[in-house]
Structure formats: C-alpha cells, structure tokens
C-alpha cells in the first residue's frame, strides 16, 4: 500500500477552554475517497483548518506525504498538494473561468507579467484531467453553482492537488449535477487524487465514500469502510443517541384551504404548479435543488411574481407583489439564508423578534419601547429563546436560538400560512427537534404550514402530506402513513420514478 497522502496522528487542538480536537487520528491514502461526518461543532472544520495550516495544533503530528510536521503552514500544505474547496467556493466572480483556475498558480509562480494565454494554458490542462466542459471566457458570476464548483476543482488541480477537501459540496446541486460531481470525484480517484469530503447528506456519503470517519465533540468515534456501516449506525455515531422524533399527526382539520394555487408558472423557475394547503396541515415540499421549491415559496411570499396562474388565499383570488402584501394577507416566510435574509445581526434579539410587528404595536400615533420589549420577551419565552438575551445582539446566539427568533417573528403576526424554507439547516440535532416541536404545535393550533426541506427524515416525520417537486413541476404527492421513509428517499434520489 502506498504511503498515505495525509496521516493525522493523535492531534489535539483547543480554543480557550474548548477542546475542539481530542487526540484525533485520520489517514487518507492516494486515490481514496474518505468522508468526514459529524454534527456542527464536532471538529470537522477545525481538523481541516489544522491540516491546511490555517490553525496550529497543540499536540500530535501531521504527516504529509511522509514528512512529519508539528506545525503546518498554508504554504507547506499547498506544497504537499493539500487543497480545500470551501462551501462558498472562494472564487472571483468578475473574472473569467480561465483566470479563476489559473490565478493562484500564477501567483505562486511569482510571475510579474501574465497574458490571457497563460491563463488558458493552465486552465486547459486542468480541465482535461476532469473532462470538464466549461467556456474559458465565461465570467464566473454568471455560471451555475455546479459549473462554479467545477471551476473550483479545476483550480485545485491546477495547483497539483493530491488531496482535496470538499466542504458540503452537494448542498446547492441538482440531482443531475450531484451525479456529475460524484463522477468527477471518481475521475479524481482514478488519477490517484484523494478526496476528503465533509457532508451530512448521508445518501451521497454512502454512494461515493470508500471510508467514513465520524467525529463527535472533537473525538473520532468511528472510522468504517463503506460496507460496514449504514445510515442508522452512522446517525447513532454522529449524535451519540438514538434520535427519537415525534411523528406529526394532524389534529386540526379544516377542509377550507388557506392557500390554493392553480396552474402557477414562472419561466425558468417552475411550471403548472397546483396545490392547496389547509389550516392545521404541515405540507412538505421536497425535491432536488433546482426543482423550483424556493422559487415557488418566494412567489407565494411576493418576491417572485408568477407569469401565469392563480393564487387564492382564504378563498379570494389574490395578487401578491411584495412581502408587505403577503404579510397583510397573513403569510410569513422563514427564509433559507438565515444570516443574509433573516437576521439583523448587530441589533438586539428584541428588535429582531418584533421586526415584523412594529407598526402593529402602535398605540395611537406612537410606539412605546416598553411595549416592544414586553412583546419581545413574550415571544422569546414562547419559543424558548434564552431570556437574558433580549438586549443582546442576535448574532451572538446559537443557530438554533437564531432560527427560533425568526420563527417567533412571523408567528407574532398571527399568520394563516407559514412557509419554512430549510428551517433546520446548520442546526444541531437537539435544536432541530425543538424546532420541529414548535412547528407541529403551530399546526395543531390551526396554522397552515408549508415546509421546504432537503432532508427526508425531517419531512417524513413532520408532515401529514408530502409534495415531490422536480424540474419545476410537482410530480407526486405522498402520504407518509401510506409509504415508508425509504420509499420516499428512493423517489427523491431518483432511484425510482413517479
């Protein structure tokens, strides 16, 4: 067996009292696809940072291609062919594909002069190894996420990568693109390049990984060849507990739909979508990315007016042209991008949670700050947000708390319909199930809920009805009591057809 390209031996790292890594061993051989699984805060990113030299280690050693180090620097890591593709890809959106691929290589060569040919030469070589088909002159900001990823991978290849870390690479890819990516990783493997990828999407993990290492609270709790582990076991190792989720059983029944959509279309986003949601329902909307789910949600919320079709709300035909329209009708949206779209980072929790009801708190012509505080505190209590955080900047809260703030904000308007777009992404398991509890509770009180999610278990256990959307169309409706979770998963992954 060849010598490992990366050999992490008993590495520990702590940050002011928090043990981020605890005597972790991790080995990767050339051409191996090794998955790094773990919850938020398990130490995955710290491990990557230590290996790539962004962080120093307290003890242990890192052996790169046979050379032992106690302190890796970014240039040492790069010399040994260690490359990272971050989730945000870290590309230059205004530069061309060729230039993005070639930039760091040229930078390392310390050349002064550079010509477009230099860039395309370097780019072509990298692209050839990948059988990638990209337009060298295309400006990166106009590319799809999948193409951007290809650019990032080519860039790593141009830097003579022997080991590529990929951080959650499939989050923004369609099914088809995921297959392409997995094929790409296969290609890399055949070239002797190792890939370590961090993912919580277990189905993909099992599809491509040779080995799966699991981190929990800074310790490596398991390292298995693919054949020896299954999803249940993996979840157990990742969370340390059997995840018990309470399955949703609808109690509030009202057959007069709150939302009725008929033949809704928006060019390039979705077409001919018809659906209805009744009060007390939690309707799941699942499907690969690119299916049009968020686009649909934004249309209902007024940020993406449809081209054709009708929306009926509470029995009346409506035209929703702005979030203010939506709010007036009683529609709320917990957005996908919590930080960019949902939070006022430096403002206090109190301001955040009352953001949507400011005008409603008017007494005559004015608003009393005490009213805002009181209402804010109420909502915080109800959603179990840390009460002493009323005046604290919301950016200092944990992801779970933050999401509950956003949820509370919309519940405050007494909504008839609540749309949740990927409500538990990036949240630890305990908080996840707490949010699920709140969601189910809201439904039992008569609110209609549309839950968009990528996670089959989340949708399976929290919805009384599931809509499967793909390529802009609703292709199936699933009753979770009539189908198994596995059947749903196979549908979503495209292993069965409708």
């Amino acid at each position: 067996m060849q010598q490992p390209v990366l050999d992490v031996r008993s590495v520990s790292k702590s940050f002011t009292g928090v043990q981020a890594l605890n005597a972790v061993d991790f080995t990767v051989h050339p051409g191996e696809v090794h998955c790094l699984a773990g919850e938020n805060g398990s130490g995955k990113s710290t491990l990557i940072k230590c290996v790539t030299g962004t962080e120093t280690i307290d003890s242990g050693s890192i052996i790169l291609e046979g050379s032992e180090y106690h302190g890796v620097t970014p240039s040492i890591a790069m010399d040994h062919g260690i490359q990272v593709i971050y989730q945000d890809l870290a590309l230059f959106p205004n530069l061309s594909v060729a230039e993005n691929i070639a930039f760091i290589s040229l930078l390392n060569r310390k050349t002064t002069l550079v010509s477009p040919d230099d860039c395309s030469d370097i780019a072509k070589i990298a692209m050839e190894r990948l059988r990638a088909r990209l337009n060298l002159d295309a400006i990166v900001e106009n590319l799809s996420m999948a193409d951007k990823q290809q650019v990032a991978i080519c860039r790593a290849l141009a830097l003579n990568a022997r080991l590529i870390f990929m951080d959650e690479p499939t989050t923004a890819l369609t099914r088809h693109e995921i297959d392409n990516l997995l094929a790409t990783i296969d290609d890399l493997r055949s070239h002797g390049i190792a890939v370590v990828f961090v993912s919580h999407k277990l189905d993909e993990v099992f599809q491509i990984a040779d080995n799966i290492a699991v981190l929990r609270d800074g310790k490596k709790v398991g390292d298995f060849p693919n054949e020896e582990i299954d999803e249940k076991k993996l979840t157990f190792y990742m969370t340390g507990k059997e995840v018990a989720s309470k399955t949703f059983e609808r109690t509030h029944v009202d057959t007069q739909p709150v939302l009725q959509i008929e033949h809704l279309s928006r060019t390039d986003h979705y077409s001919d979508v018809s659906l209805h949601i009744e009060p007390g329902e939690v309707v799941g909307l699942i499907g690969p990315l690119g299916a049009g789910r968020t686009e649909l949600a934004l249309s209902i919320f007024g940020l993406n007016p449809p081209d054709e079709g009708e929306i009926h709300f509470a029995g009346k035909r409506v035209s929703i042209n702005s979030p203010d329209d939506a709010k007036r009708l009683g529609i709320g949206l917990v957005p996908e991008d919590r930080h960019g779209q949902g939070l006022f980072a430096r403002l206090p929790v109190g301001s955040n949670i009352t953001a949507s009801i400011v005008s409603r708190l008017r007494r005559g012509l004015r608003i009393k700050p005490e009213d805002i505080s009181a209402r804010g505190l109420d909502l915080m209590k109800r959603f179990r947000v840390r009460e002493n955080a009323l005046a604290e900047a919301v950016q200092n809260l944990s992801g779970g708390n933050q999401q509950r703030v956003v949820l509370g904000r919309w519940v405050a308007i007494d909504p008839k319909l609540l749309i949740l777009d990927s409500p538990t992404v990036g949240i630890d398991v305990a908080s996840k199930s707490e949010i699920h509890h709140h969601v189910q509770d809201l439904a039992q009180r008569g609110i209609a809920i549309l839950m968009i999610s990528d996670e089959v278990p989340e949708v399976y256990h929290n919805c009384n009805r599931i809509l499967f959307m793909r390529d802009g169309r609703i292709q199936a409706e699933i009753d979770p009591t009539a189908s198994s979770e596995n059947e749903l998963r196979e549908l979503v992954e495209g292993r069965t057809t409708v």
């Binding site: 002011t16 928090v18 980072a345 403002l347 301001s351 005008s359 608003i367 700050p369 604290e392 904000r409």
Partner: protein, 343 residues
C-alpha cells in the same frame, strides 16, 4: 432596549460631553471674554443652526446605510428656486414682502423634500446604490441650478426674510430654537415611531428588512424626503443669513456633516446612530470652529483638523470594534466551557 450598543453609544455621548466640557474649560484661559460673551454665543447659535439641519439630514441617511452626497446641492437648488419666486416682482406685488417671505419658507423645504425623494425613487425603483444615486442627483441638482442662474446670485431678499437669520428670542437665535425642536422631534420619532424603528432595521440589513416585510420602500422614501426637507430648512437659514442664494454654497458642509454624524456614533454601514450624539458633535465642532476663528487660525487649519478628526474617529471605532469582537469570542468560549463542565 433600543439597541444593544446602548451602553456603547451612551459611552460615545459621554465621551463627547467630556471633550466638550474640557474644550470649554481650556478656552477660558485661552480666550476668556472673547469667547464667553453673549454676542459670540448668539452668532455661534446662528451658524450652527443651518449646519445642524444638514447634519441631521445626513445622519438619517447614514442610519439607513447610505450617504447623501446631494444634501448641499439640494439645499442650494431649492433655496435658489424659492428665492427666485420670493424676489420676483410679480409675487412681491401680489402678496407683499411678508407674503413673499412666507411663500419662500413654505416652498423651499417642500421643493427640497421632493428633490430628496428623487434619490428615493432611484434607490427604490431602479435599485441604484445610494452613493451612486446621490452622486448623480448631486451633479444634476448643481447642473439645474447652474443652468437656471448662470452662476449669478439671487439676492436682496425682502426684509422679513432677512430677519430670519438674525432674530433672537430671549437672546437665543430663533433658528437654534427650531433646530433644537427638530432634533427633539426626530430623536423621538426614531424611538417611538414605526418609521424610526424600521429605519434601524433597514440600515442594519436591507435584505432582511425586505424579507421581514417592514415596508422598506416606504422607509427609504420617508427617510430621503425628510432628509430633503431638513436640507430645505437649512437652506432658508443659510440664504437668509447671507442674503443671497447661489450655486456652490456650502461645499465644505458635506464633509462636516459626515464628520459630526460619525463623531456622534453613527455607523456609515447603517443600523446604528443616535441624534443626540450628533448634536453634541455639532456643538463640539462649532465651539472649535469659533475658537479657531477668534484665535485667527486660518480656515485651512480647520480643514486639516476636521479631516484628521474624521480619520481618527473612524480608526478608533474600528479598533474598538475589533476588541469588542475578540471579547465576545472569549465570552462564548467560556460559556461553552461552563456548559461542558456543568453538564
């Protein structure tokens, strides 16, 4: 509970207050009676009134996360138009000097408000970045004013109008009183009105404001129109004081307005700012300015000092913000440690 930076901003206000007191104390031996006399205070009062309105206008836009490069050009254009109406023989014949004055006082702020609204239209309807929008409107307003007047001054206003810039009530200049009222009103609105509270939200994160349905377009519109209105009021005081309206007046005020806004704790990124801090900043600047004048320091020294102060305040802000962030990281780590050892 308006803002978690409450203690931080109040500390800024305390700091300014301290600087002010210190400066005033230093001036006693330095300038003595030349500074501390009624006539001086009165004249200071007049000067900082016109600037105060501009500073308030700029502060509101900065809290919204933008910078209004066009406030002064707006002030000039609306003043010129108002002055032209006021000094036209036809108008004077129809309503007399008193009526013409009243007309001007009404027209100027309203025009300025509309011009300010132009910025809002660009930002709301065409998604023009605020800096670009105000750059464009600034050049445009100046251009219109230039085309209309050919660079000539519009002057010789009716007596009642001229009095505005020089009347006192119980020794306090009327414009100063109006300024104080304006500051009080705006401060109140910022904390107690839907517009005010939404303004902070919008300034902190425009996108989240959109997604939270706070009526972001209305916030922008009202902010820029109010800012325009204030610029118009500044214009009235300004041209009354010098008895003429002309293109190009007040160019230095843009820097000064940004300076006092920043001094007073306003964050140019938006979402943070308190008008009383800005007021203190204005007072400090006015005291320094007058002291400089009395000491016969050239206006260039003043320019140098203003520029340096701006850089110093912003640099200090940055350093303190970094320190605060580091403290926060440490605090969170300690909390985690406590949790781990407890549970």
């Amino acid at each position: 509970m308006n803002n978690f930076l409450k203690s931080e901003e109040h500390s800024r206000i305390r700091l300014l207050l301290g600087v002010l007191v210190l400066t005033l104390l230093i001036l006693i031996p330095l300038l003595g009676g030349r500074f501390y006399n009624t006539r001086n205070f009165t004249s200071m009062g007049f000067q900082f009134a016109e600037f105060g309105f501009l500073a308030l206008a700029m502060t509101l836009v900065m809290i919204a996360g933008g910078i209004d490069l066009s406030v002064v050009a707006n002030m000039n254009l609306s003043s010129i138009l108002g002055a032209m109406v006021m000094t036209s023989p036809a108008v004077q014949a129809a309503v007399g000097p008193g009526g013409a004055t009243l007309l001007a006082i009404v027209i100027i702020p309203i025009l300025a408000m509309i011009f300010g609204g132009l910025n809002a239209i660009l930002i709301n309807r065409i998604s023009v970045p605020p800096i670009l929008a105000s750059l464009g409107t600034m050049i445009f307003f100046t251009g219109v004013a230039m085309a209309i007047t050919g660079g000539e001054r519009v002057g010789d206003f009716p007596m009642p109008f001229q009095k505005i810039g020089s009347t006192t009530a119980a020794g306090i200049p009327i414009p100063t009183i109006v300024l104080l009222l304006a500051f009080s009103l705006v401060a109140y609105l910022l904390d107690h009105s839907a517009w005010g509270r939404s303004l902070y939200l919008y300034g902190e994160n425009k996108i989240a404001a959109l997604f939270s349905a706070i009526g972001d377009r209305r916030v922008v519109r009202m902010t820029y129109m109010l800012s325009g209105f204030l610029a118009g009021v500044a214009g009235i005081i300004f041209i009354s004081r010098i008895n003429s309206a002309r293109v190009g007046y007040g160019g230095a005020y843009v820097l000064q307005a940004i300076l006092v806004a920043v001094l007073g704790g306003t964050d140019p990124d938006g979402g943070i700012g308190k008008v009383w801090g800005v007021f203190l900043g204005i007072v400090v600047l006015q005291v320094l300015s007058t002291a400089f004048n009395l000491m016969q320091v050239t206006p260039y020294v003043r320019q140098f000092v203003w520029g340096s102060m701006l850089l110093l305040v912003m640099a200090l802000s940055h350093v303190l913000a970094v320190r605060r962030q580091n403290k926060e990281v440490l605090r969170q780590a300690e909390e985690r440690l406590k949790k781990v050892s407890a549970g």
